[in-house]
Subunit: 213 residues, 2 copies
DNA sequence: CAGGAGCCGTAGACACTGTCTACTCGCCCG
DNA sequence: CGGGCGAGTAGACAGTGTCTACGGCTCCTG
């Protein structure tokens, strides 16, 4: 009963946003990011206007400037929440790490795609590197720990090969599947309605077929 | 001496833009698209302002509206040039189609990545589906013939498997590699300086290792 | 306790964007 | 010759991100 089975619909209930803590209590800096996370989940990445975020946070349009000198930095802070959420979901997917590495990888991949599906706007924002402070250290590096876990698992599954290379190719494959699927291109080209076979094909390709099937 | 070997640098000489036919002679509609292609190649996707394109075409900012009712449609017309260019490069890569299918696929993949590298801004634009008329028929379908060729070749290499599925996964992998490499993430994560091993790993994964190596 | 300094947010200006609307010019056809 | 019409101009409008001057508030210091 994996999470990746109802990719056809456009449901976006999941997330992990939640909380959205108490109105005016928290410091403005955090509130702005909260509002941004909420807004991108509800209306998409193009709704993340500086002025709109300020409006929904109940402050004037000049206020964010004290904490985020530029719009891009505010967007980057919002995107970082996305990377953190993805990391948390990935960590939860791995669990205690006692499962066979091949299964952990499959679960990791499922979680990755489920994240992209459930947090479509956020996922798009996370890879809008033209609008993010991707040059600055900190944002691009956010996914490094996750990639390290991925590479370590790959190394256990395919001890013969260059694990980082395989992990890189696999990561790129997951990203490509998520993005092209969100765009609808993969459905159009392959005629598929379900993303699971595509994912299985990619996993089998990079890691070899799963043992127990 | 494949094209995909100097991905380290940021040279963007290649292209295929060329032409840029004579100033005011051609009809305005085409000139606007020409200017857009030129502009995105030189200054990136964020420079494709409606008013800037009109300015460089030597007309007032209201003029484009007669041919492109909205900014998105002008951008879509520019992006279509990108898809056409990619298709042309792919067709040239395949040549007369007498080479072994596995080699044709490798060449196709190389050309795809080279296109993304040489036409960085255009490539980004082509997948900015939030800003393109991706809902309208015609744009997303542009890549269908290319995908058909890809799937046919895959079918010859792996007659046992579901060719469209494999082709979809492979396509997604190419797209993911291109995008994450352009962003710098893959270099950062894997430590690689050259994209070729990554590409070979992906091709081997989806198609099986190449015969003559 | 008085006073000043520093932080936090406001308000307005500025250049720029995309869209919409009125208009002018010049050509072609009847 | 004259009217219609396609093609492009010019201006208005709401909205954006950035910058700057200003107001109020707290809190620390003498």
């Amino acid at each position: 009963m994996s999470e990746v089975e109802d990719w056809g619909g456009s449901g976006a209930s999941g997330g992990g946003t939640g909380a959205y803590g108490g109105g005016t209590g928290r410091p403005l800096r955090d509130r702005l990011v909260d509002v941004g996370v909420e807004l991108v989940a509800r209306e998409g990445a193009q709704a993340l206007t500086l002025r709109e975020i300020a409006r929904r946070a109940g402050v004037s349009h000049g206020a964010p400037r004290r904490y985020f000198p530029t719009h891009r930095e505010l967007l980057s802070a919002i995107a970082r929440r996305g990377f953190d959420g993805l990391g948390a979901r990935a960590a939860a997917a791995i669990g205690d790490g006692t499962a066979p590495p091949r299964e952990q990888l499959a679960e990791l991949a499922r979680v990755y795609l489920a994240f992209a599906r459930d947090n479509r706007g956020m996922y798009e924002l996370m890879f809008r590197h033209d609008v993010l402070e991707s040059g600055r250290p900190g944002l691009r590096e956010t996914s490094l720990p996750l990639f390290g876990v991925l590479a370590a698992l790959v190394a256990r599954v395919r001890p013969d090969a260059d694990a980082r290379l395989i992990a890189g190719a696999l990561w790129a494959n997951l990203h490509g599947i998520a993005q092209l699927w969100l765009w609808g291109s993969l459905q159009l080209a392959t005629g598929a309605e379900d993303i699971a076979p595509l994912l299985r094909s990619a996993l089998d390709a990079h890691l070899g077929p799963e043992a127990d099937r």
